[in-house]
């Protein structure tokens, strides 16, 4: 122990000295003056007026567009990691006895898959769009607090390392530190009793990602309230900004609560407090706290994608979003009501039937605003001049999948139905229709729609369409099979299913598991194509020369972000056709 402490001390000291040395090399401490920000382009301050080159630029940037790209790259990497975990899960389940993994490995991977997708892919990919495009859409120079923005992003890489830490540390510590096997819901008492320090590391990672989300949310609220251009008012604020505003408010109420609950859990685990012990708050307290965060979290994840679809779909339907205000008010309604439904995840815990009934009532009410949006999207397309571009295809796929995900959700919100389907694959099918079929699809729609803006190039259309169709078929095959498995009675979270035929008919269960795995393989191939398309097109795709690559001008739907893009293209051309990096490097010479 003492030797270990000594080594750690040495390591930390070297790190700290190294950081101090690095900072003194790249930073001129004396140049800090109270006039920072508005300074003139003379002498030392010139250094500060441009972005440095290479990797340093990305490590030090506080530009909302750069940070947006960082979030995007981070999210796509997390999506790949979570996706590989999903493939392992699906391959495991092709045979009833399990094809690949032991029960512990299965549980570890299942846990990490859920947490990775929700916290390291879902929230960051939304932040990527929001960071890049909200300031452009509302006509702001940057976010209200650019540095806090950067801090929020940089909390995420350590968060990911901590969440995955068990996988790296298990081999070097002879399984003393293993990946957590708590499932993403981390239910007590299990999560208190597992002594594995990997659980602590994961909880800390989650906590950091929560801090990051909260900082981001404060920043977005401040930006949308205070940094709007003069001619952007509440009456003509775009729909994506409305959904981000609502999402940020939800984050502000939900994530600090998760953070506190996690700290309580950590204290229970490490300092023998009794928040969730039977003699203290009781194990159900965790479930209440977790779901009071958890249900808003699902809307935190789905509202901005709804905003993306509401923004993009009209562009390729040739008409304005039908009932724009309906969509705005119903977004706000979802925001409020999402805090009054959490116990629909706990119907089977034996809580008081009167309370249960009231949670059912609010859960049924919250379905209305979601349905309203769906009708608005469909009506927008009705008689429109549809252009089935890749982003549009993903928007339509979103609607289709969201309908199935939403309707199955309403079924689950009915207590008698839920008591039968709870903890079966039906629930897994329900939320995957939404998290993959809707949130994932909206993210793809956004990536393709704005690809010209953030890369200056065009993606390959055929590959984009292949990506869509493989994703659409794969998603529906996989998750529809899961709904069927749920009806058959297959319980969720099992590494094997060699159970007694009284629980579920084994032969059919096996068939549906095979179908689900086949669907997952199709999905996987689609995502490979996506990554290839993005990377190759970013590097070699044809340069976009028209500031209006989607031909939106003709319908009067060229939003501010594309107008900004157009202006940027024009300046770059007059600058001598160089890329943004180049012109930024020489940017200091410019006159202001």
């Amino acid at each position: 122990m003492a030797a270990g402490d000594l080594v750690l001390t040495g390591l930390m000291a070297v790190l700290l000295v190294g950081i101090a040395a690095l900072l003194t090399r790249i930073e001129n401490w004396r140049s800090y003056t109270p006039l920072a920000g508005g300074g003139t382009a003379t002498g030392e301050t010139v250094i500060h007026r441009e972005k440095p080159a290479g990797i340093v630029r990305w490590l030090t940037t506080v530009d909302h567009k750069d940070i947006g790209i960082l979030y995007g790259v981070y999210a796509v990497i997390a999506f790949a990691v979570g996706g590989i975990m999903a493939m392992l899960i699906r391959l495991q389940l092709v045979t009833p006895g399990g094809a690949l993994l032991g029960a512990n490995a299965y549980n570890s991977i299942l846990t990490s898959h859920g947490i990775t997708m929700l916290f390291l892919f879902g929230t960051p990919i939304i932040a990527a769009f929001a960071n890049y495009f909200i300031p452009l859409l509302i006509g702001a120079d940057d976010m209200a607090f650019p540095r806090i923005n950067a801090i929020a992003f940089w909390l995420l890489p350590p968060a990911a390392l901590l969440i995955w830490a068990g996988f790296f540390l298990a081999p070097v510590t002879e399984n003393m530190i293993e990946p957590a096997q708590t499932a993403w819901t981390m239910y007590t008492p299990l999560s208190v009793e597992q002594t594995n320090p990997g659980v602590d590391l994961m909880l800390l990672g989650l906590h950091l990602s929560g801090v990051a989300a909260t900082m981001g949310a404060i920043n977005f609220i401040a930006t949308i309230f205070t940094e709007r251009d003069d001619d952007v008012s509440w009456a003509n604020l775009d729909i994506f900004s409305w959904t981000i505003l609502t999402q940020s408010a939800l984050i502000l109420f939900a994530f600090p609560l998760l953070g506190s609950a996690i700290v309580m859990l950590l204290l229970d685990r490490n300092l023998a407090t009794t928040f969730f012990a039977v003699e203290g708050g009781g194990p159900l307290l965790w479930q209440h706290l977790f779901w009071f965060f958890g249900h808003p979290e699902v809307y935190i994840l789905v509202l901005p994608p709804m905003g993306l679809v509401s923004l993009i779909l009209p562009k390729f339907a040739g008409r304005k979003l039908f009932g724009f205000k309906f969509v705005v008010y119903s977004t706000l309604a979802i925001g409020v009501l999402s805090f009054g439904v959490w116990a629909h995840h706990m119907f089977s815990t034996g809580m008081d039937p009167r309370l249960r009934a009231s949670f059912m009532a609010v859960s049924l009410a919250i379905a209305i605003p979601s349905a309203v949006k769906t009708f608005n999207w469909i009506t927008t397309m009705w008689n429109g001049r549809l252009r089935l571009t890749t982003p549009m295809l993903f928007c339509i796929g979103f609607i289709s999948n969201f309908i199935i995900g939403g309707v199955t959700g309403v079924f689950l919100a009915a207590i008698p139905v839920d008591l039968i389907l709870h903890d079966t694959y039906y629930v897994v099918g329900h939320f995957h229709y939404i998290v993959m079929g809707a949130i994932g699809f909206a993210a793809f729609a956004g990536i393709y729609y704005w690809f010209p803006v953030f890369t200056g190039r065009m993606y390959q259309r055929t590959l984009g369409k292949a990506h869509f169709w493989l994703s659409m078929v794969g998603t529906n095959l996989t998750f529809f099979a899961m709904l069927a498995l749920g009806y058959l009675g297959m319980p969720r979270r099992y590494a094997t299913y060699q159970f007694d035929g009284a629980i579920a008919p084994l032969a059919q269960v096996e068939t549906y598991h095979l179908l689900a795995t086949a669907g997952a393989l199709i999905l996987f191939v689609g995502q490979l194509i996506f990554v290839w398309n993005v990377v190759q097109s970013w590097l070699e795709g044809p340069k976009v020369e028209d500031g209006d690559p989607w031909n939106l001008e003709r319908d009067g739907m060229l939003d501010r972000e594309f107008q900004w893009f157009d202006r940027k293209l024009e300046t770059t051309v007059t600058d001598g056709g160089e890329e943004e990096e180049q012109s930024a490097l020489t940017g200091a010479r410019s006159d202001d």
Partner: protein, 107 residues
Amino acid sequence: MALFGFEKDTLLDLTVNVIPLGIILFFIAAFAVVPAFGTDPVFSGLQFALMISMFLLLAVLTYYAGRAIENAEHAQESLEEASAVNEPEDEVAEFEDEDAPGELEDE
């Protein structure tokens, strides 16, 4: 028609949130009239507290959002009136092209 001081158009927009409010109200009434699980001061209290608080919060937020948007619209209108021509901005695109809706055109 100036319910809560809103214009007719705004009121129409706000109906979208009246529906969930109505559903909650329906359940409040139903549970009050038919207490299928008996009444209990704590749990019935919590039951109604949850529904009533959701009802009130949604009503209040809807009201203020409606206010904010209506005020912003007024501010804009008076600006536009002060300036030159203004044409109705809505629902024009719909009639522009009647060509095949499903056409597989890719930009």
